[in-house]
């Protein structure tokens, strides 16, 4: 235990300075790159483009270098002072390190040569994921779980497209421009439906007494199916022929998503709103109390049922917003394929960001960083293996969740000097880990790589088991 009164060693002061310098420097470099983008001339000449690109690369490289210095400072300070670190800090460094690794390993060095489109891609994906991950986080903090967000995204896109079809059938059929009121009306209607689904969840859970898992599992399965039926019904009624999807042509409506700024602003508005709600309001405190101990919260005079209603409505409303944005982005409402499995990514972001599935713990900043980390890793893998990387997304999410949560509990585990592979079960666990590590290496880099990784893993884990068993005995 470090004592607060002991003067800090000089090395720690230096590390602290390094940390501050690094963070400041990295931010300045990023601001410089942003400024270069912002002031990019309308019709640049070839030499101007080359000059801009060169400056941009220098800025990016410097930013990463500064980030690395800051990491060294932070790490050193933590070693020297023995402080427990915050989950959010760990995530920031994890993001920096993943970025650096991608920069180095990617054979095209995209993060270096083309920072603009790389960062736009990551920001866009994080924005979409972040919006409904925040909703999932609020529900988790309140001690519940919302499994429905993937289907809710598909269902919201469906509702929005159907409303547009009903309001302006001619324009929708002819791929023409929509009257001005159609967009706002469709969006408003969709959000209202989101509110209704949230209310349904809260009603099933509080008044009927279903466990949250069951109530939202029902809508997870049900809403997607209902969306598909609704699209067929609407197109049959309006156009006279059934289709399974509705195309969105209106450029102004699509601009909602094609411009990166609008989703980003929406995301920040939701993030700041929820942050204020959770951190500074009475209702926010009640959400944490509800998740921490529902009975005690109720006996303290908190209207737990109303608070739950709010939490589930935030969960579905954010999914609705994400649904509209995804529809604009893909210019089609297709409930069969849109948002499949996204509920688990939202939950993964929240959990990686420090939300406890037992409820009562978690933050907005953590969840946003969790989503950003998830997207950075996915993007990094995509950059490195280049083609067909979407196959690996689920795998990446799974591995990231295991590592991130295991790391945040690392201190606890080592304090108990737990054996990772005890007894016969340990032997098979080693086999399981080696099997999957080898298989991942094989599909990524070929048979030989798989064999090498499996061999190395078996040696490493086997000796870990041996050392731990010897120490325990």
């Amino acid at each position: 235990m470090p004592d607060a009164d002991v003067p800090r060693p000089l090395a720690a002061v230096l590390c602290q300075a390094l940390l501050r310098l690094g963070v400041l420097g990295a931010l300045l470099c990023l601001a410089y790159v942003g400024w270069l983008e912002w002031t990019r001339p309308e019709d640049p000449t070839r030499s101007e483009i080359l000059a801009l690109a060169a400056r941009g690369r220098i800025g990016i490289l410097l930013a990463y270098g500064m980030g690395f210095l800051a990491f060294l400072g932070w790490w050193g300070r933590r070693r020297l002072l023995g402080k427990r670190y915050h989950n959010a800090e760990g995530l920031i460094w994890a993001i920096v390190i993943v970025g650096l690794l991608t920069l180095a390993i990617d054979s095209n060095h995209n993060y270096f040569y083309d920072p603009r489109s790389s960062s736009i891609e990551i920001i866009r994906q994080t924005t979409y994921l972040g919006i409904f991950a925040l909703g999932a986080a609020v529900v988790i903090i309140a001690g519940g779980i919302d499994l429905s967000s993937g289907s809710m995204i598909a269902f919201s896109a469906t509702i929005c497209a159907c409303l547009m079809t009903v309001l302006a059938p001619e324009a929708m059929r002819a791929a023409g421009d929509l009257p001005w009121y159609v967009g706002p009306a469709a969006i408003g209607g969709t959000l209202f439906v989101g509110f209704l689904v949230g209310t349904l969840h809260a009603w099933l859970i509080t008044s009927i007494g279903l466990p949250p898992f069951i109530a939202t599992l029902a809508t997870l399965v049900g809403l997607r199916s209902l969306g598909r039926a609704l699209i067929e019904f609407t197109t049959q009624e309006v156009f006279g022929s059934k289709t399974t999807q509705i195309q969105i042509y209106d450029p102004e409506f699509r601009y909602l998503a094609t411009s990166i700024w609008i989703p980003l602003v929406i995301f920040f508005a939701i993030g700041i709103g929820l942050w204020l709600l959770l951190a500074y309001t009475v209702v926010g405190r009640h959400l944490y109390a509800l998740g921490g101990n529902e009975q005690a919260a109720k006996l303290s005079g908190i209207r737990t049922d109303s608070v739950k209603w709010l939490a589930y409505c935030i969960g579905t409303l954010t999914a609705s917003i994400a649904g509209i944005l995804y529809m604009c982005d893909q210019s089609v409402a297709d409930p069969q394929t849109l948002g499949v499995g996204y509920e688990l990514r939202a939950i993964a972001s929240a959990v990686v960001g420090g939300c406890s599935l037992q409820g009562g713990a978690g933050t907005v900043v953590g969840t946003i960083l969790g989503a950003l980390f998830l997207r950075t890793v996915i993007d990094g893998v995509a950059k490195i293996i280049k083609t067909g990387s979407d196959v690996y997304e689920g795998l990446i999410v799974g591995v990231v969740v295991v590592f991130a949560v295991a790391f945040s509990q690392f201190g606890v585990a080592s304090a108990q000097r737990r054996q990772y592979f005890p007894g016969l079960r340990g032997v098979f666990a080693i086999f399981a880990v080696v099997f999957f590590a080898g298989m991942i290496a094989m599909v990524a880099q070929g048979l030989a790589a798989g064999a090498v990784v499996a061999g190395l893993a078996i040696i490493a884990l086997g000796s870990l088991k041996g050392v731990q068993a010897a120490r325990a005995a």
């Binding site: 009475v282 005690a296 006996l299 009562g360 713990a361």
Partner: protein
């Protein structure tokens, strides 16, 4: 006691949890076949020591010898194999499984075909349960049994393990009087078989009734082992606390004012038992500035009565309930809070505290609106209220931001009381407020109640310990099976009279009719 090899010998055992030294250099011996009580305040390290002996904690410094053999149990199974069994305060039963299945959990018997042999386990379970005077079937699910019966299941498990040493951690804390008597007989039987018993308890009466020797721990250190015959409860209490406890009564002269709580003919239907009443014809009044106790055995309906007054009852009640002269009927605790009723619940961990939150958040939980402007919490005002509460209730904490779990039981309870005082209540309901609170902190809670009462609060209190009610109350109502059977003023009340009204009268009435 002869000078045989001690069956348990603890030498220089130390244990740290993070920054807390739970045990430091504890050494003592237990003789074979004796009943050895372990005393100490909460946090003295009793439970930690017992967990080490039972293999629940396997990392510690020092040495433990069982019958002369140095041992270091790697888990409860290893301890059980060496003949050491523990019955935790919080029982470890799988509620959905039958009593027999719980007894043999993890060591299920198998027949010739390697299939589970339920019949054999059932037979053997029935044998052990019979020895223990159990009046339930081994097929009953553990969750459907009363706490006392669940404890018998745990004891039967120890018997089936042929335990030489049985550790009991506050076994009577949730038992009714008749269950305690039965437990006494079970203990006598175990002792006849030569089982050594290590017994943790807060209740002096029990310790002096049962034990041969008493070991006192304080702040993780061994204080002394005494023969029961050569000591008395005052000396033990003195050793536990390390200072004299004032025996003074915490009751200053009071002048009660207006009637605050007035209940007439209250009836509460029994959930799940149509046609039966959980509470029946309950009538009483409590005035401002007096402490009124509600005595009764476990299951007499004390908690249910308080829940009715607080709007936390599951079934709607009938009858009249006036709060400060106005009719009151709360559908949700929130309405009760607004009307000026506060309930400190019986089970602090489960129903009182939010353990993911710190002291400040726990204290201001019910009065957050008071420190907020249009729903936004003002951190400075919130901190101010918290600091005031910490100072006025003398809560010992590392500060308002300390995790609630870092506080002792008594200080946690003060936080809950502080939470309610911030709502400016007219009536304060305390449901067994000193349960699991150590001796010194109890006295502080009594002083606090006395002060609140003088400040004009109407205080309603239940307790599982009669002397406590006698010490603090102006008047005592006695509940039995949902009815009020007696009412005593402070001068009239004695332990015997209350016990008669709470328990004996039922049998007497049955004889008469």
């Amino acid at each position: 006691m002869s000078v045989a090899t001690p069956i348990i010998s603890v030498r220089d055992v130390s244990k740290r949890f993070g920054g807390v030294q739970a045990l430091s250099g504890v050494s003592f011996d237990v003789q074979p076949g004796e009943f050895h009580a372990i005393c100490g305040e909460n946090g003295a390290g009793k439970s930690t020591l017992m967990k080490i002996l039972a293999g629940v904690i396997d990392e510690y410094e020092g040495e433990v010898r069982i019958a002369g053999e140095p041992v270091r149990f790697s888990g409860t199974r290893a301890a059980e194999a060496a003949g050491v069994s523990i019955i935790h305060q919080e029982l470890n039963l799988v509620e959905q499984l039958s009593a027999a299945a719980n007894i043999f959990l993890g060591r299920e018997k198998r027949n010739a075909f390697l299939l589970r042999d339920d019949a054999a386990m059932r037979r053997e379970a029935a044998k052990y349960l019979g020895e223990l005077e159990a009046d339930f079937s081994p097929d009953d699910p553990a969750g459907s049994l009363r706490v006392g019966d669940q404890q018998l299941v745990e004891i039967a498990k120890a018997l089936s393990l042929h335990a030489r040493i049985l550790i009991m951690d506050e076994p009577t804390s949730a038992l009714t009087e008749s269950e305690v008597e039965r437990l006494d007989r079970v203990i006598a039987q175990l002792r006849k078989k030569g089982v050594t018993i290590l017994y943790i308890s807060h209740k002096m009466e029990e310790i002096f009734r049962l034990s041969d020797r008493i070991t006192v721990l304080r702040d993780g250190q061994f204080v002394r082992t005494l023969d029961r015959d050569k000591t008395d409860p005052v000396e033990i209490a003195h050793l536990m606390v390390g200072r004299e406890i004032e025996q003074a009564s915490h009751h200053s002269p009071r002048s009660p004012g207006e009637t605050v709580v007035s209940v007439a003919n209250l009836r509460l239907p029994w959930a799940g038992r149509p046609g039966r009443w959980r509470l029946q014809d309950v009538s009483f009044q409590v005035r401002a500035g007096e402490i009124v106790g509600f005595a009764g055995l476990m299951g007499a309906g004390r908690t249910e009565l308080f829940e009715c007054l607080f709007g936390a009852n599951e079934m709607p009640f009938q009858g009249e309930y006036l709060l400060a002269g106005r009719p009151a009927r709360f559908a949700h605790p929130r309405q009760a809070v607004k009307a000026g009723v506060a309930l400190v619940t019986e089970d602090r961990k489960r129903l009182g505290l939010v353990r993911t939150m710190n002291v400040r958040e726990n204290v201001t939980l019910s009065s957050l609106k008071e420190v907020a402007t249009v729903g936004v919490v003002n951190p400075r005002r919130e901190l101010g209220k918290t600091s005031e509460t910490i100072q006025s209730l003398l809560i010992k904490t590392d500060g308002p931001e300390a995790p609630i779990d870092s506080l002792s039981g008594g200080n946690q309870q003060k936080c809950v009381i502080g939470r309610w005082l911030l709502t400016n209540p007219k009536a304060l309901l305390l449901d067994d407020p000193t349960r699991g609170v150590d001796v010194g902190a109890k006295a502080e809670l009594y002083r606090l109640m006395d002060r609140l009462c003088r400040e004009g609060l109407a205080v309603l209190i239940t307790s599982s310990e009669l002397p406590e009610l006698l010490a603090v109350c102006d008047r005592i109502y006695v509940l039995r099976e949902g009815r009020i059977t007696a009412h005593f003023t402070r001068e009239e009340a004695t332990e015997e009279r209350i016990m008669v009204a709470a328990a004996v009268e039922a049998e007497a009435a049955a004889v008469i009719s």
